[in-house]
Each structure stands twice: as C-alpha cells, then as structure tokens.
C-alpha cells in the first residue's frame, strides 16, 4: 500500500547519488515535473536516467541535465535539447539510444519478471551491436534485456489512498510501465481520492506497484508545439 508524502521534497529522501532513475512522460507530456524539479534542487548526482526523451532545455529532465546530475541516459529521442546535445558531443554524458518500442517493452519486462526477450526491432542496425541475434520462426531478431530502476518517478492524474492510479489521455505513455519497474515507485498526482471512488474496471495501474504518492505542488501545463485550427475552418 502506498504512503502519502507531504511534499515532493520529502520524496527526495529516497533518491541517492549513483542510482538508476526512471522518469515517465513523452517529451513534457505526462512528465512528473514536481518530482523532477525537486530532484534538481538536491545534490544528488551520477544518476543513470531512463526516460523516453531528454526533454527540453532547462525544464523537466533538461534541468537535471543542465545541472550535470546525469551521467548516463537511456532514451529513444534526444532532440529539442541543445544542452544535452552539447554534453553528448563533448562526451560529458553517455547516451544509449533505444528504439521507443524496445524501451517500453524492456521496462515492461523489468516489471513483469521477464529477464530478456527476442524482438525484430533493430536487427541489423547499430542497436543490435553486441547483442545475440537469432532467427525465430522466420523472423530475424535480437535479444534485449529487461530494464529496472532503483527509483521510478511517475505522473498520474488521480490516485486513491491505496495507490491505485488513473492517467489522463496521452499523458499515460511510459508512466504505468515505469511504475512497475521501480524498486521504489513514487507517484505525483493532481488529485488523491478515497478508496472506492475509482471504478475497479477503469484503474490503469494497481496499487501493488506504488510505494509513495504526493500531490503535485504546481502544474505548468506546458505544451511543446501549440498547434490549433481556427474556429471557422
């Protein structure tokens, strides 16, 4: 069962230098911003970060990167962040590019107790270097290993007091997967409701994976690309 923490700052007691950290979100969407920004206020360093994106300059993961708190990053996409590009080119940060679907599946596998799996994704590419290749029933595949984290930071829309979670729209993305793969999983939410208020058929992630919940202090509601159509079109 989850414990409810008073603040994002309190959650930082669980993050130590040298740990592996997963951070949910797709770019800035569904990123656990209060937790990440609280970590940026600490002296924790030498973090291995697993997150789909490098995020944008000086916001979200970008803050941790600007602070040089990250020594290694697993991500599928590292555009939109010039500081990260610079650290990568100058060798200050080690980046392992992982195909997005393989990243998602490796994290799911970590949470689900599947130590490794074969996938066709990346066969014959740089991603396959150093990995076992095998043809299975006519498909050329490579062997990919599970990913686990010491701590996972997750953003959900609502939690009940046990720690059951629901997500909102495309802010779901990697969040529920990372919640399953953290030895300690810390979730920030917009709202905490009573047990029983969430329909048991509509919960996206059961409380069994959640260790701590905190109500996020502040939400920027940030958008990377504001695309809209005019009312008349």
């Amino acid at each position: 069962m989850a414990k409810i923490l008073a603040s994002s700052k309190d959650a930082m007691a669980h993050v130590k230098s040298g740990m592996t950290l997963m951070v949910g979100g797709f770019g800035v969407c569904g990123l656990p911003e209060n937790l990440v920004h609280a970590l940026a206020e600490t002296n924790v360093k030498d973090i291995t970060l697993i997150s789909n994106n490098g995020s944008v300059d000086n916001w979200g993961n970008g803050k941790l990167i600007a602070n040089k708190q990250i020594v290694k990053l697993f991500a599928s996409y590292i555009g939109e962040n010039s500081e990260l590009a610079e650290q990568f080119i100058s060798g200050q940060i080690d980046v392992e590019l992982v195909p997005q679907g393989t990243l998602a599946e490796r994290i799911r596998a970590g949470g689900a107790g599947i130590p490794a799996f074969f996938t066709p994704t990346g066969f014959g590419t740089k991603v396959a270097e150093g990995k076992e290749a095998r043809n299975i029933n006519g498909k050329d595949c490579i062997l990919e290993e599970a990913l686990l984290a010491d701590v996972s930071f997750v953003k959900a829309h609502k939690a009940d007091k046990l720690g059951n979670l629901v997500f909102n729209k495309t802010a779901q993305n990697f969040n529920p997967l990372m919640a399953t793969a953290g030895k300690i999983t810390i979730v920030e939410v917009e709202e905490i409701v009573e047990n029983g208020e969430l329909d048991p058929d509509e919960i996206h992630l059961p409380s069994i994976y959640v260790n701590y919940i905190v109500k996020g202090e502040q939400y920027d509601r940030r958008i990377e690309k504001r695309t809209y159509s005019s009312a008349t079109s």
């Binding site: 800035v28 969407c29 590292i78 590019l97 195909p99 066969f123 495309t170």
Partner: protein, 220 residues
C-alpha cells in the same frame, strides 16, 4: 503543380495507398500531411505511437490540452471511438503487425528496401524514436522522401551510407519524382510525378531501377 508544394504532392500521392478500414501510422513531416488528403467516405484510423488510436484534427486554440498530443508533440483532438493506452500497448500494436500501413520519411533508401532516417554520424543525432519499431513491425512500410539531396545527389541508393533504421523493410517509395516499388529483383518504377520523364527519374537514381511495362508518367 500550380500552388501545391512538392511535399503536398507527395502527401496526395501517399493518400492513394490508403484502403478503406486501414489503421495507419503517419510519421513526422510529409506523412503527417496525408491526414488532409484522406478520400471522402474512406474510414481510416490514425495511430499515434505515444498512445492514441484515432487522431482527430488540430483543436481550437481554446481547447488545446497539454495531455493530448501526437508523436510529433503537437496538440491534437480525439474522435468518437478514439482510445488511449500506454507505450508498451502502443508498440505491441505496431510490432505485432496490427497497423496496416506505416508512412515515414527517410534520408536514404536502398534498392533492397533498407532505410536510414535517424542519424548522421557527427552531425545530427536525435534518436530513432519509434521508427525502428515501425519499420520492423509493419508489413506495409511506405517511404515519403525527396529523391535527391539539395546538391542533386541521389538518396535512392545501391546501399545506404548512413546508419540503418531497418533492413529490407521498405515496400514502396513515393518521392517528389516518382513512385518505386521494392521487389525481390530490386526497384521498379511505377509512376513519375508531373514534370518528370521516366529518364529523368532513372538518371536521378543511383540504385539499379527497372521501369515497369505499365509505368505511368506525370500522375501526381
């Protein structure tokens, strides 16, 4: 060609590859434009690999929702019957071959269907995002690209020079010059775009290319 850019013409031609009832993933760039050219009366469901089936049009400015974006991180809307899911489910769908067609851009394509579209060593390293999964998972990978680089070099090659996104996975190429199918015997030219002769396309292509007996000229 009057008033329609090269990119829009490619998108219009790509739209002809759609079939009623298709679930399709549209990559960033030219493929995204295909959404504007879906034939009337054809039911197409667009997949967004960040966790949405059923991409709707851009919202009104007042309805923009930071929690509702496409894989290009643009604000979008939903349609009746849209569904949200997590990233593992999204790529289960893609890797499992359930998406009927995947349209994506490329820097280079080779005559055996290899594709390179995610990095230029020493220059551009953005990452492959979901592209490697899309090309590995879809039976129907169609590439939208400019036929040549700005300095006139062919991007349709005997062998790709850039790091690969996938091997032998491209089924068809729609460029600003023509439409080519990847067959076990190499590339076959099926159509040319308006303003290009068959010889124009063949001469602009480094890869070995065969001209179909039924090759059409100036179809788009």
């Amino acid at each position: 060609m009057t008033g329609v850019s090269k990119k829009e013409r490619i998108a219009q031609r790509l739209a002809k590859e759609l079939q009623d009832g298709y679930y399709v993933n549209l990559g960033i760039g030219i493929p995204t434009l295909v959404a504007n050219y879906i034939p009337d009366g054809m039911d197409i469901v667009l997949q967004s690999e960040n966790g949405l089936l059923g991409i709707g049009p851009y919202p009104l400015e007042k309805d923009m929702d930071p929690d509702l974006i496409n894989a290009g991180k643009e604000t979008i809307s939903t349609l009746p019957g849209s569904v949200f899911f997590n990233s593992a489910e999204s790529f289960a769908m893609i890797r499992g071959g359930h998406v009927d067609a995947s349209f994506l851009g490329a820097m280079e394509v080779s005559e055996n269907g290899d594709i390179a579209n995610y990095m230029i060593p020493g220059k551009m390293v953005k990452g492959m995002g979901g592209a490697m999964d899309l090309v590995a998972g879809s039976e129907n990978v169609i590439v939208a690209m400019m036929h040549t680089s700005r300095d006139g070099k062919s991007k349709v090659l005997k062998e790709c020079s850039l790091p690969l996104t996938g091997l032998k996975c491209v089924k068809k190429i729609v460029s600003d010059m023509g439409v080519m199918e990847v067959t076990p015997n190499g590339l076959v030219l099926l159509e040319t775009a308006e303003g290009f002769t068959i010889d124009d396309v063949v001469n602009a292509t480094e890869a070995k290319i065969t001209v179909s007996e039924n090759c059409l000229v100036g179809t788009y």
